[in-house]
């Protein structure tokens, strides 16, 4: 996370720009302004003339105006050219168009200085006819290649390459010589190669094929395949080069596919580990099957939601991002306290009756789900902090979403912390002694009942931590915990109860297994197959990977 944090800030800013692009202000030269006004002139000749001028002199600043023009959102209000911006919610149930000055992109203000909104499009909109629309579209395509918004610019460049638009090649070539941001120049080079592989001379084609092969992007494979299939050239040398490049791309794509699977498996597994750690320690210590464990995770997720709402409503928007820093301890505390209470009120009375704790905690989970549903309603989503938006492109086409990266690191840290607590603290010592031999520990003065309570709280707190990172990539709803709890039980079964390492290996292993099987089979069959594999695995190791060793014949 720390490696990419700089990158991610840039990214999040870009995304923000992208979102606000219609609101972005820009400056425009006087002559262009007049030309744009002429677009709405009733005289056909003047219109034609202004197209010619735009072709020659136009720059990226007129793109928003042109886009508004072809979608009929441009109006000439007595000499003032205005754009109808994307509709916003003015009040509940009413969405209106803001009016934007076409020349600056800023909102048009009324005499009192407030922005003007309008509910309907007016009848005096400047409309384009069919031929004009085609002309303008072409113009937009060319102008977008130097769009002031980097994301849109890259998108335009990529689109040019994907269409193999030979007319744009000189522009791309010219831009490539300028000193541009690396992302832009990469896209330019790739698009240029994609165009040349179809339209270039022989040497250009060879060069382009080699270039695409080295880049190894999935996008580059398309024009290559196209060239191979259409047999546009009968030149053997080119064909071999194309074939070569394709093989290279395939090999590269396979490799990054593998890494991508590994990554998503790790991120799924890390959440499972966090869940399963709590389950395993609760079961290992007290013999309690906590069916409500998923619900404690859900509590964590909803705590994060509540914290974010508090920040949104009562605190300045500038520090909204920091809600996550508060949500993490809050989620832990709330889940742990809820766990402590449930242990005191319910679980305490059921020690030594594992099957009955299963039923009771199932009841508990129903009550928790319904309480949250009554309080908060059903599906909710919350805005993740800006730091976690975006992704980290490690290499061509190999993209790690930052939120997933964060989750992996976060879970690893929590697991480490938990491990330290168990191994290094007093509570951990008492915990381990109680797991090993409850009676002896008790007789040596270990307050086993209190250890039980604290451990239960610790386990549910861990689930709460797992819950508070889930909203970073998914919607939350009151019954979200149920999907995770079966999987986490499988992790416990797979890993055994002897060592924490078992749970970690089990969790990550299950995550990998699921993600590796899913591409070959569909998700559902993958799940079924994984279950089958676990049952077969138990034939070989009935008590999991790391069984707890004891001298008793029976537990």
């Amino acid at each position: 996370m720390f490696l990419v944090s700089k990158n991610s800030t840039v990214f999040s800013l870009l995304i923000l720009l992208c979102l606000l692009s219609s609101m972005t202000s820009y400056a425009m030269t006087e002559s262009l302004q007049q030309t744009l006004i002429n677009l709405g002139d009733p005289d056909k000749n003047i219109r034609q003339q202004s197209y010619g001028t735009l072709m020659k002199e136009g720059d990226a600043t007129i793109i928003p105006v042109l886009e508004a023009f072809i979608s009929g959102l441009l109006e000439n209000r007595s000499g003032l050219l205005v754009i109808y911006g994307p509709r916003v919610q003015v009040e509940k149930g009413r969405r209106e168009y803001p009016l934007l000055d076409a020349f600056t992109g800023k909102p048009v203000l009324d005499p009192t200085g407030r922005p003007i909104y309008t509910e309907n499009l007016s009848s005096s909109m400047i409309r384009a006819n069919r031929t004009e629309r085609v002309t303008v579209l072409d113009l937009i395509k060319i102008l977008s290649l130097s769009h002031f918004d980097t994301e849109k610019r890259i998108a335009a460049i990529v689109a040019a390459g994907d269409r193999s638009d030979a007319t744009l090649a000189p522009i791309l070539q010219k831009q490539l010589q300028a000193n541009l941001e690396k992302r832009i120049s990469d896209a330019l080079a790739e698009s240029l190669a994609a165009i040349r592989i179809t339209h270039g001379s022989k040497s250009e084609k060879l060069q382009a094929a080699r270039f695409l092969g080295e880049t190894g992007s999935a996008r580059g494979a398309l024009p290559l395949r196209h060239a191979l299939a259409n047999k546009t050239d009968n030149d053997a040398e080119i064909m071999i080069a194309v074939q070569d490049a394709l093989t290279k791309i395939d090999r590269y794509q396979k490799l990054i596919g593998f890494i991508q699977d590994l990554f998503s498996g790790l991120s799924l597994g890390s959440i499972l580990v966090l869940m399963a750690l709590g389950l395993a320690v609760i079961f290992g210590l007290m013999g309690v099957i906590n069916m409500a464990h998923g619900e404690f995770m859900m509590l964590g997720a909803f705590t994060a939601y509540v914290v974010s709402e508090i920040f949104k409503r009562y605190l300045p928007p500038g520090i909204f991002n920091y809600y996550f820093l508060c949500a993490v301890p809050a989620a832990f505390l709330i889940s742990a306290l809820a766990g402590l209470f449930c242990e005191w009120a319910l679980i305490r009375h059921l020690y030594g009756r594992p099957l009955e704790t299963l039923l009771a905690t199932w009841g508990l989970s129903l009550v928790l789900i319904q309480s949250v549903r009554v309080l908060f309603g059903d599906t909710l989503s919350l805005t993740p902090p800006e730091w976690f938006v975006g992704s980290w492109e490690v290499s061509t086409d190999l993209v790690f979403p930052i939120n997933r990266l964060f989750i992996i690191i976060f879970c690893a840290l929590c697991t480490l912390l938990f491990y330290m607590i168990v191994q290094k603290t007093k509570l951990g010592l008492l915990l381990r002694s109680t797991v090993q031999d409850r009676e002896t520990s008790s007789s040596l003065g270990v307050p086993t009942r209190r250890v039980d309570g604290l451990t239960f709280a610790l386990g549910t707190g861990l689930a709460g931590l797992a819950g508070c990172v889930i909203p970073l990539y998914d919607k939350i709803n009151p019954s979200m915990g149920q999907g995770y709890v079966v999987d986490s039980f499988m992790v416990v079964v797979l890993g055994g109860l002897g060592k924490l390492a078992g749970v970690i290996i089990g969790g990550v292993g299950l995550g990998f297994l699921t993600k590796f099987i899913e591409p070959f089979l569909q998700a559902v069959y993958g799940k079924a197959l994984v279950l089958g594999m676990i049952i077969v695995f138990l034939q070989w190791r009935p008590a999991g990977l790391f069984p707890s060793k004891g001298r008793l014949v029976d537990e």
Partner: protein, 483 residues
């Protein structure tokens, strides 16, 4: 659980006569009273149909009791076996030979095929056009699945909680599979479009009802025979001291496998009878939740006692059907509360209450009035209120019966009787439609009457724990000793 014997042999002559009479009464009630009341139109077809469906659940509960109550294996995939049986039957019923509603525009095969771009009936489906094949399969498939799964799981000595977790995973995996359209079993929509007469026409409904009751009785006798035999004692031995059995050269795996497979067959049978009465089967019934739901029937009824399981299935389902229509939002709270309360406060379930009742019988209290009133109260749940204009005397009788019964129960029982009486009285009044309108005022979605019920129940519980009051009660409720 451990000190709870499956059979209590009591020398008390009174008790033996009482049990005989009760059994006879229950049989008469289900085989004669209900069909006749239905015949005269007093009980609506839908209510008989509902009773029939709930009795199918009772069959499943019997199996679960053998598996969990006797053998101590908590399986969370019984709903899967229920559905396996049900699907086999549903396949027959959705074909034209089974009365399925097929249309020429859908190539005369069940409609969902059409929406999955299948024009002809797949080969393995065609066999199900014969009823006998479908019935055999409905029993055979759960048997095979259960024995294969059981064999592998028990062989690797998966025990206790691990067993529950694995069965839960199996139920979940199967649910996901059955939801797929490629399985050609209707996907999430399940199988439907059977002959609607099965759950609407009085004749068919009564037919299925009677078949279900007879099957239930037969299976009950079978289960009773098993539990009373040497095998039954082995089942209990597996539950209580599995290691000891190993040392005595028994094979606990085989005994467990037997129990698991038997329970699966019971569940499959329940499914077969359930499908035509329900008119649809979807993968939603085989979720883990439903399996756990089945467990609660047995837990509430009383583990390790066969009739307790059956009574639990009926009671819980009726409670569900009444409360969900009254207050759907609150139901999960009640359900969750029920799970926790049963485990915490009534580990022996209804059987515990009944046992105290029987103690009173053994000591000579006259209880026939109570039982009669209970039967009438239960009938009151079933009868069709719209026809009551014609049968006012019946209406009054039911009311009097309810009140008398509550009184008698309170008179003859220790404080827990108050709980039993309140619940029955409450449902009786509800079923009779005598609940005053003011009782329906809701506060956070719960009608007033439930608050009152709750206060009475909690009050009874609290009072019975206060020493002075307890003493006073004991003096007052001293069972009558004259005989």
């Amino acid at each position: 659980m451990k000190n709870q014997e499956p059979m209590t042999f009591d020398e008390n002559e009174l008790l033996r006569v009482f049990r005989k009479k009760t059994t006879l009464g229950v049989l008469v009630f289900f085989f004669v009273v209900i069909p006749f009341l239905g015949w005269f139109g007093l009980i609506d077809v839908t209510n008989i149909n509902k009773l029939g469906r709930y009795l199918c659940f009772a069959i499943v509960a019997l199996g679960i009791d053998l598996l969990w109550g006797y053998t101590g294996l908590l399986s969370l995939c019984q709903a899967l076996f229920f559905c396996l049986g049900g699907y086999a039957m549903a396949m027959h019923l959705s074909l034209p030979e089974g009365g399925g509603n097929v249309r020429p525009e859908y190539h005369n095969i069940p409609q969902f095929f059409f929406f999955n771009n299948v024009d002809t009936l797949p080969g393995w489906w065609t066999h199900f056009s014969s009823l006998s094949f479908a019935l055999v399969m409905a029993i055979l498939i759960p048997t095979i699945v259960a024995s294969l799964f059981g064999f592998t799981v028990f062989r690797s000595r998966v025990k206790g909680v691990y067993f529950s977790i694995i069965t839960q995973a199996v139920a979940w995996g199967a649910f996901l599979l059955f939801c797929r359209n490629e399985m050609l079993l209707g996907g999430t929509n399940g199988l439907t479009n059977f002959d609607p007469a099965f759950h609407r026409d009085f004749g068919w409904v009564l037919f299925f009802y009677l078949i279900t009751v007879s099957t239930l009785v037969l299976l009950f006798l079978g289960a009773k025979y098993i539990s009373g035999s040497r095998l039954g004692r082995l089942l209990v031995a597996v539950r209580d001291k599995e290691m000891l059995l190993n040392f005595m050269a028994y094979r606990p795996q085989s005994i467990k496998l037997f129990a698991f497979t038997t329970a699966a067959i019971f569940a499959g049978t329940g499914g077969v009878l359930y499908v035509p009465q329900n008119g649809i089967i979807t993968p939603n019934i085989m979720r883990v939740e439903d399996s756990i739901w089945m467990i609660i029937w047995v837990a509430l009824g009383g583990r390790g006692r066969l009739w307790g399981a059956m009574a639990g299935a009926l009671l819980v389902n009726y409670a569900y059907s009444i409360t969900t229509s009254d207050m759907p939002k609150t139901w999960p709270f009640l359900e969750g509360g029920m799970f926790m309360a049963v485990v915490l406060f009534f580990p022996s379930g209804l059987v515990g209450l009944w046992d105290r009742f029987e103690q009173n019988v053994a000591s000579g209290t006259r209880v026939s009035g109570i039982l009669l009133a209970m039967a009438v109260g239960f009938t009151a749940l079933l009868v069709d209120k719209s026809n009551w204009g014609l049968y006012v005397p019946y209406h009054l009788t039911a009311l009097i019966a309810c009140v008398t019964m509550s009184f008698l129960v309170i008179r003859s029982l220790n404080p827990s009787g108050i709980v039993l009486a309140t619940i029955t009285f409450f449902f009786g009044v509800e079923a009779l439609g005598l609940m005053p309108e003011t009782m329906r005022i809701t506060w956070i979605g719960v009608p007033l009457k439930y608050y009152i019920l709750f206060i009475i129940l909690v009050g009874a519980g609290v009072l019975s724990h206060i020493g002075v009051f307890r003493q006073a009660l004991r003096k007052y409720y001293e069972p009558a000793t004259e005989h």
